[in-house]
């Protein structure tokens, strides 16, 4: 086989650039597709497209010798092709997206081919990017340690770079900019002979990238997105746009925009128009109030102020500040507003005059996530408000897989500790049908109060309007004055008192009859452990409170109830109960099927494992590494959301920190430093380390959560270094071992690792939903143990 006559430095640099581009492109597209459709659509497209890595391994395994023979010119050509497809993926997919909509996927049969076409476009990008990586790894397997190091380092840098760029550039500008990286990588790997045609190709590639860079395609969000429906209103316009790692933040103004959730039907005055509405990635974030807020006194959220004066108010996930306006209207003296999406709140200052309730002199602000803020502070408050749970109309179950750390058992215990002696926690939920959000919320309140050892019936009140329920949890027992105040509030505004000591049955449905005649009985039964357990086991949806280990508050579907639900709702309606989870399941099945085919295809040429010299350990070893690595990474991101208090930093630090240390580990595995003797031992070392981390990681992160950000980052890097370094070793050791035996099998192994890694992302989500994140960590550990055992067995 011919070796590419390239200086090692150039080759390594090219790999770093290409790898950085691939991960940056992945993150950018996730955001772009989430903006055009929804996060779940992005997941559906990108998770499948990443199979391009596996497909590249399959192709190399099948046509290794001819591909390696032409590697000299193939490398730059593939890198240029990758650059062109990166730049053109958005305009092409936008063309398809104009007719495709994830909302129609279960409504119109013609949508499935469009989805497959979208996936194919992105799959091509990753395939063209992964093919040169695979060719280099296999062709130059004697240098695999440093090459794999360059690959992982590049990926780590790419992740950080993409997040940094998201602060400054609009999402549609990023892919073409990123495409410059594989283009530059292609330039670096142009060998001296036959240089001219490749330079011409490079020039053409640059021309395409430049064209897209200076003329990025316009973004056309789905017609069903909140922003599209708002922009359909007469006189509406986008008043300001701001890129951010959370997504594109847009401020829309429209003369007919009004927002008054939880408003009493007795309110007869004008509901004022709002000054604008803020959207993140096209999804509703909040309304920018005009300052006329008298109507807020006639909403359910005014209940705590009807009971007593609240001087110190803590508003968690303050959004655009509606709860702050209400607090100020009711004479609060000190308001703490916690909102991690600061750019989304800041954009309203683009309106004139640039005032926002968050700028009021009585308001202090924090950009931490609420849980991190609660962990860092000890002050007690007279009132703590949480954002409304669920969404009006149910949003088709799109948020089933959204992690909600503010609604877990641990969060409510923390909130309880932050209440002053007579302080109250106020949380509302949109009423859904069948009832799920309100019941799970009630179950969480009941369990919290049992945990702290008080009688829930004496501490919880609830009031219901036509579409919303508001719960009040009081630190001290509800007094007679409180009860009178709640009753009078309800009478004045025609709300129904739903939970209150001494309530008569007739009072509870005076104005608003619920859809489910069992709703009130179900709600009551949640407040005693025995009946709660009975309801939990018989209710068709899972109502059990969620925990930090399993923070999916909006995921209610129980598989054992599926037949019952199908019978009740019909197969057409069912997808809309929990579309988010269904999409993950659909993509998981699609990926698994494709991955199995991609893994098995090379066997046509290589023969069956155990025969024709094919190593038996190849599938369990490289599959185990792929699964173990992805599972650990996903679990790590989950833990870091609470630790760093910022999901984007968590993802960037988790992914990039781990990748960079793994890169170093790969480099070390090629040197004569103390290291595992072989790939099996390296995998065993990782399994042992992960088992240790299963026990020590959560308490150590909890211990360090109060550190200042700089020390916190340093602590995390030190903590992650041992497993990170160890996790970089098994793959290069195993691949070089296999390549010594057969290059085709090494190529196959690269494909197996790629395929299983992609399958693992979906599987990790399913395991987390069904069993919790601890199970994800244990399975990561088991996967590495399997990899280690497979080599011993062989």
């Amino acid at each position: 086989m011919k070796r590419a006559p390239l200086p090692p430095l150039q080759l390594h640099l090219a790999l770093i650039l290409l790898s950085a581009a691939l991960i940056a492109f992945q993150l950018e597209q996730m955001q772009l597709l989430a903006l055009i459709q929804w996060h779940h659509f992005a997941y559906l497209i990108i998770s499948v497209a990443l199979l391009g890595f596996g497909a590249s391994g399959t192709l190399i395994a099948l046509y290794r010798s001819s591909l390696l023979r032409h590697m000299e010119w193939l490398l730059p050509v593939l890198m240029f092709a990758c650059a062109i497809t990166m730049a053109l993926a958005l305009p092409l997919s936008q063309g398809i997206s104009s007719r495709f909509d994830v909302c129609l996927l279960f409504v119109e049969a013609g949508q499935t081919p469009l989805l497959l076409l979208s996936q194919s476009i992105y799959l091509l990008v990753f395939f063209l990017g992964a093919l040169p990586l695979g060719l280099v790894f296999i062709g130059l397997s004697h240098r695999i340690n440093s090459l794999y190091c360059a690959n992982l380092m590049g990926s780590g840098i790419g992740g950080l770079g993409a997040v940094a760029l998201m602060y400054f550039l609009l999402p549609q500008q990023l892919p073409a900019l990123t495409a410059l990286l594989p283009w530059a990588a292609g330039i670096l790997v142009i060998a001296r002979p036959r240089r001219m045609p490749l330079l011409v190709l490079a020039a053409l590639t640059l021309a395409v990238i430049t064209a897209v860079l200076f003329q990025p395609p316009p973004i056309r969000p789905s017609q069903y997105k909140d922003i599209s429906r708002t922009l359909d209103l007469p006189g509406s316009k986008i008043a300001a746009s701001q890129p951010s790692p959370y997504g594109l933040i847009e401020l829309v103004t429209a003369p007919a925009l009004r927002y008054a959730p939880g408003l009493s039907l007795t309110y007869e005055q004008e509901v004022p128009t709002v000054r604008g509405a803020v959207f993140t990635n096209g999804d509703w974030f909040g309304a920018v109030s005009s300052g006329q807020a008298s109507f807020l006194q006639a909403t359910l959220t005014a209940l705590p102020y009807a009971m007593a004066k609240r001087d110190r108010v803590l508003v968690l996930q303050a959004g655009t500040g509606t709860d702050i306006i209400l607090a100020l209207e009711n004479g609060a003296q000190e308001i703490m507003a916690v909102e991690p999406q600061q750019q989304a709140t800041a954009i309203s200052t683009d309106l004139h005059p640039p005032t926002t309730p968050l700028d009021h002199r009585l308001v202090q602000r924090s950009s931490l996530t609420p849980r991190t803020w609660l962990a860092l502070h000890r002050q007690a408050y007279d009132l703590i408000t949480l954002p409304t749970v669920g969404s009006f109309g149910g949003a088709s179950g799109l948020f089933a897989l959204q992690e909600e750390y503010l609604l877990t058992r641990e969060a409510f215990l923390e909130l309880w500790r932050h209440l002053s002696p007579d302080g109250v926690l106020q949380v509302s939920a949109w009423l859904d049908s069948p009832a799920r959000n309100s019941l799970r919320l009630a179950a969480t309140l009941a369990e919290t109060l049992e945990e702290v050892g008080v009688d829930a019936h004496q501490h919880v009140a609830a009031v219901r309007g036509w579409n919303m329920i508001t719960f009040i949890l009081k630190r001290s027992p509800l007094s007679n004055d409180d009860i009178t105040a709640v009753r009078s509030f309800c009478q004045r505004l025609q709300f129904d008192p739903t939970l209150l000591p001494g309530l008569q049955a007739q009072e509870r449905i005076r104005s608003h009859a619920p859809a489910d005649p069992h709703f009130l009985a179900n709600l009551d039964s949640l407040f005693s452990p025995a009946s709660r357990s009975e309801l939990s086991s018989s209710y068709p949806f899972n109502l059990a409170p969620v925990s930090d280990n399993h923070p999916f508050f909006s995921q209610f579907l129980r598989w054992q109830s599926l037949a019952h639900l199908l019978q009740l709702f019909g197969e057409r309606a069912l997808p809309f109960l929990e579309l988010g989870y269904l999409i993950v399941l659909v993509s998981f099945c699609q990926i698994t099927l494709a991955a199995v085919l991609l893994i098995l295809l090379p066997l046509l040429r290589l023969g069956l494992p155990g025969r024709s010299g094919l190593q038996r350990w190849t599938i369990p070893f490289f599959g185990g590494l792929g699964l173990g690595y992805m599972f650990f990474e996903i679990m790590l991101i989950h833990k870091l959301v609470l630790f760093f208090g910022h999901p984007i930093f968590a993802a960037a630090a988790g992914i990039s920190g781990l990748l960079i240390f793994s890169g170093l580990g790969s480099l070390l595995s090629g040197h004569s430093l103390p290291r595992p003797a072989n790939h099996g031992q390296a995998a065993a070392l990782v399994a042992l380390l992960l088992l240790l981390y299963f026990f020590i990681l959560p308490p150590l992160l909890q211990l360090a959560i109060t550190l200042p950000p700089m020390w916190k980052t340093l602590f995390f890097l030190l903590l992650i270094a041992p497993p990170g370094l160890a996790m970089g070793m098994p793959f290069p050791l195993g691949l070089s071992q296999l390549a010594n035996h057969s290059k085709s099998q090494a190529a196959w192994a690269w494909g197996i690792n790629g395929c299983v890694s992609v399958v693992s992302t979906g599987l990790a989500t399913i395991v987390a939903v069904e069993l919790g994140f601890s199970a994800v960590m244990l399975m990561a550990c088991a996967a590495y143990a399997l990899a280690a055992l497979s080599t011993a067995w062989s």
């Binding site: 009859a513 619920p514 209710y539």
Partner: protein
């Protein structure tokens, strides 16, 4: 009412066969084709299409409405009279009578036939009633209401939808439906009070002017859910000085009970 649409189809189909832009040879071929078996096929195809849609409408009445408990003969007659296929986008015409909502653009849908019938039934409309619809959409619901009352007012905030629905209602013969483009928040004070109000574009709150424009003893219905899935219907009633709501689950869902 509602028969003119057949002529409309015939006219619009005929328009596609105008020979003005065709080259002579092609024209000759087309004429030959039509004179042979072509004309027969085209005519049969149109006839099949039309009769097939009528058959589908009948199946909709029996399979989707009667089966689920819509029994009011007035509602069934209205649903069997209004040509739903003329209120959906052309490319979805063949799916007009299937058991589900369909997209009509601008993030809006034409509701599932059963939901249209159920909401109409709940409003208990009689010919003397004055009815207001907020959110005209395709105009289909307004057409169904117009089969029951001669005083139907419908408002749509999206100008394009308001214009196309107005045109469609006229073309299909529903000339007594008054369509206005405007913000549904304010209702229609000049025509108030209303015996029944249907708010097809539900908001997080019920605009106070709409409640004020609802006659004492009147009924308002609001579907709550996402574009492709109605969770429940909210019936608002004004009785004396009180306003009460009743959340209704469409019959096909049957009252939700615990699984055993």
């Amino acid at each position: 009412m509602g028969i003119k649409q057949q002529e409309t189809i015939a006219k619009s189909n005929a328009g596609h066969f105008s020979p003005s832009g065709l080259r002579r040879g092609a024209l000759f071929f087309v004429i030959l084709f039509c004179l042979g078996h072509g004309a027969e096929t085209l005519s049969a195809s149109w006839w099949d299409d039309s009769s097939n849609l009528a058959k589908q409408r009948l199946q909709m009445i029996n399979g989707q409405l009667k089966n689920r408990g819509i029994t009011d003969p007035k509602i069934l007659r209205a649903m069997s009279t209004v040509p739903r296929h003329l209120f959906v986008p052309d490319h979805l015409r063949q799916q007009a009578y299937r058991d589900g909502p369909l997209p009509i653009g601008h993030g809006q849908t034409i509701s599932q036939p059963y939901i249209v019938a159920y909401m109409t039934e709940i409003l208990q409309i009689n010919p003397q009633h004055k009815v207001l619809e907020i959110g005209t959409g395709s105009g289909y619901q307004a057409a169904v209401l117009a089969e029951l009352s001669d005083q139907v007012y419908t408002m749509e905030i999206i100008p394009e939808l308001a214009a196309s629905a107005g045109k469609r209602l006229k073309e299909t013969g529903y000339t007594k439906v008054t369509v206005r483009q405007g913000d549904g928040y304010h209702g229609w004070p000049e025509a108030a009070p209303f015996d029944a109000i249907m708010v097809t574009a539900a908001a997080e709150f019920i605009p106070p002017p709409l409640l004020q424009q609802l006659k004492a003893g009147g009924r308002m219905i609001i579907p709550v859910g996402s574009p492709f899935y109605v969770q429940h219907l909210m019936l608002v009633e004004k009785k004396g000085g009180n306003i009460t709501t009743h959340s209704l689950i469409p019959v096909r869902f049957v009252p939700f009970r615990r699984s055993q």
